[in-house]
Symmetry: C2
Subunit: 110 residues, 2 copies
DNA sequence: TTTTGGTACTTTGTGATACAAGGTATTATA
DNA sequence: TATAATACCTTGTATCACAAAGTACCAAAA
């Protein structure tokens, strides 16, 4: 098992992705490719094969809904929208994230 | 699939565990039960079935070594010690953690 | 001296999930 | 009517955290 700097980042972000998606959709609705672009801009690379099943899982959990919209530049886009339940979940995740940051900080103390 | 607050925390910390272990062992050598105690004190619950294989993986990667030590209170303990390679890895992880915190922060900006 | 309880290390099976790779479908343009 | 670009989806694989059960050592009580 290799352990390059890239692998370290990949490892570390596991489980945080779901949080990122909800955070993005809490700002504005978006379709998958746009979400990937925003993640890339924030320095977190995600591939389609990861994102699509994740969006479907969150939709099935009632955290998101979606609607189709025509595009002038290709096939129709599936715009995802965060739901009330999704916002509740996001609030929990905000809390969990704060705690995780605190936990790491505590562990670093000598 | 349930999604309690506890599950959220569990999900989120995936991949961060390895970082936590190296951070603890960078302060002082320790055996598994003591590591679990320190994690619990920092609000991160981990069970034996998770920790032992993880320590073995890190040892096999050359990040840790160990030595046996007698105990007055039961069977001998396996004390793990971080290696030079482990410290290098930890430095990379410190960087990756900083970036991840930054990434989340960026995604939260409207 | 046998049993009991506590401590510590280990293994097996399961479910979740990120990714690589490949596939389908729509639209515009050459 | 190809071709390229865009967009969505699926399958197979590897990894990993966890639950649960097992093994081994030691000391103190019965």
């Amino acid at each position: 098992m290799e352990n390059t700097a890239e692998n370290v980042r990949a490892q570390m972000r596991k489980g945080v992705l779901e949080y990122c998606i909800l955070s993005i959709l809490n700002k504005r609705e978006a379709y998958a490719s746009a979400i990937i672009e925003e993640l890339k801009a924030a320095n977190m690379i995600v591939v389609e094969g990861t994102l699509y099943p994740l969006l479907i899982r969150q939709k099935n959990q009632g955290l998101l809904s979606y609607r189709w919209e025509e595009s002038t530049q290709g096939p129709p886009r599936k715009y995802y929208v965060i739901s009330d339940k999704g916002r509740e979940q996001l609030a929990q995740m905000d809390e969990a994230w704060k705690e995780l940051v605190e936990t790491i900080s505590t562990l670093k103390e000598k």
